[in-house]
């Protein structure tokens, strides 16, 4: 396992591996330096690696480098590059005809305002990279949108890629569904904390178990089909058009979901990884 911090998730994986008598070696990403041309003659790694870096850039670049050595990384660099980027996720899911919120792309304040007039207010501006609801901004009307876009014009160029999504009318919760390999293993409802319209539990909302309905399962399996088998936390929103996929997380957090659902998510992740070890 490669990590940059041991969150409760990584601790659960370590403890679960110990109980299963599985050999799980730990690699601190900050202590790794790779020779990119000499594939694996020095710094040997295992055949299968669980990539658990919180940093998207670390995760993506390390995974791509390790894959060239013939190592199976969970999740793959293809999954990381798509799921770590909201725009690429949207394109893949749209191509697979998976229901998602309408979204537009623009690169200047003027075009972003035009995009908004086509999408309608209110809408949501999201950074294409980043998570935990960071810098996600509701756009209520032209004035507030202008103010937010002007703000972004002074930020890192990444934040001038305007990914604007329609605001979905929905209950103050979303559904997080866990996929391991090609199977749906559990789902939870995540409730938005008071005074916050986002539902990311990292920001302090609470969770409740959710029955994996046929609709959830079908959507989740379509996602796997589009992106390949792996370990995912798929976020769905309950809209009047049915469930819409909002986000596909590829280094998914499950600390609150294990007690809420009783499902041994870390154990299942390890079993999936172990099934990839060459015999």
């Amino acid at each position: 396992m490669i990590y940059d911090q041991i969150r409760p998730e990584e601790r659960l994986l370590i403890d679960s591996a110990r109980r299963k008598s599985l050999r799980l070696n730990l690699h601190d990403a900050e202590r790794i330096n790779l020779d990119l041309l000499d594939h694996g003659k020095e710094e040997p790694f295992e055949d299968v690696i669980l990539q658990r870096c919180i940093s998207y850039f670390r995760s993506l670049h390390l995974t791509a480098s390790l894959e060239k050595r013939g190592i199976t990384v969970i999740n793959s660099s293809r999954i990381a590059s798509i799921c770590g980027n909201k725009l690429l996720t949207t394109l893949e899911l749209a191509e697979a005809k998976i229901p998602i919120p309408r979204a537009r792309l623009a690169f200047s304040v003027e075009s972003a305002l035009d995009a908004l007039s086509k999408l309608g207010y209110p809408a949501v501006l999201k950074p294409i990279i980043g998570s935990w609801g960071r810098l996600v901004a509701p756009l209520k009307d032209v004035e507030s949108a202008k103010a937010i876009f002007e703000d972004r014009e002074h930020m890192f160029p990444l934040y001038q890629v305007y990914y604007i999504q329609e605001m979905i009318q929905r209950p103050p919760r979303d559904i997080r569904c866990f996929i391991i390999g090609d199977a749906v293993v559990a789902a939870i409802y995540r409730y938005a904390p008071k005074d916050d319209w986002r539902t990311n539990t990292a920001r302090g909302g609470h969770v409740e178990p959710c029955k994996v309905t046929q609709e959830i399962e079908e959507l989740a399996l379509k996602t796997v089909k589009a992106l390949g088998e792996g370990v995912y936390g798929v976020d769905m929103m309950e809209s009047d058009r049915g469930l819409l996929i909002n986000e596909v997380n590829f280094t998914t957090e499950f600390r609150n979901s294990v007690p809420a659902t009783g499902v041994d998510i870390p154990g299942k992740i390890l079993d999936f990884a172990a099934s990839k070890v060459r015999k």
Partner: protein, 57 residues
């Protein structure tokens, strides 16, 4: 092992198998702290102050 919260000075129990980078939460003030080892191998708790832009799940 025991550590000290840099903010409220509460004493925090650190599991013996803790590794560098491990996150512990101060039971008194709720602060998220990271386990760090100094050059002599002594354990220290440091406040996680930055949430980097590419961080997430």
């Amino acid at each position: 092992m025991k550590g000290k919260c840099p903010d409220c000075s509460a004493e925090i129990e650190i599991a013996d198998d803790s590794i560098e980078g491990e996150i512990v939460v101060c039971p008194d003030c709720g602060l998220e702290l990271e386990v760090k080892k100094d050059a002599t191998g002594k354990i220290e708790l440091r406040q996680i102050t930055i949430e980097r832009e590419d961080w997430g799940e």
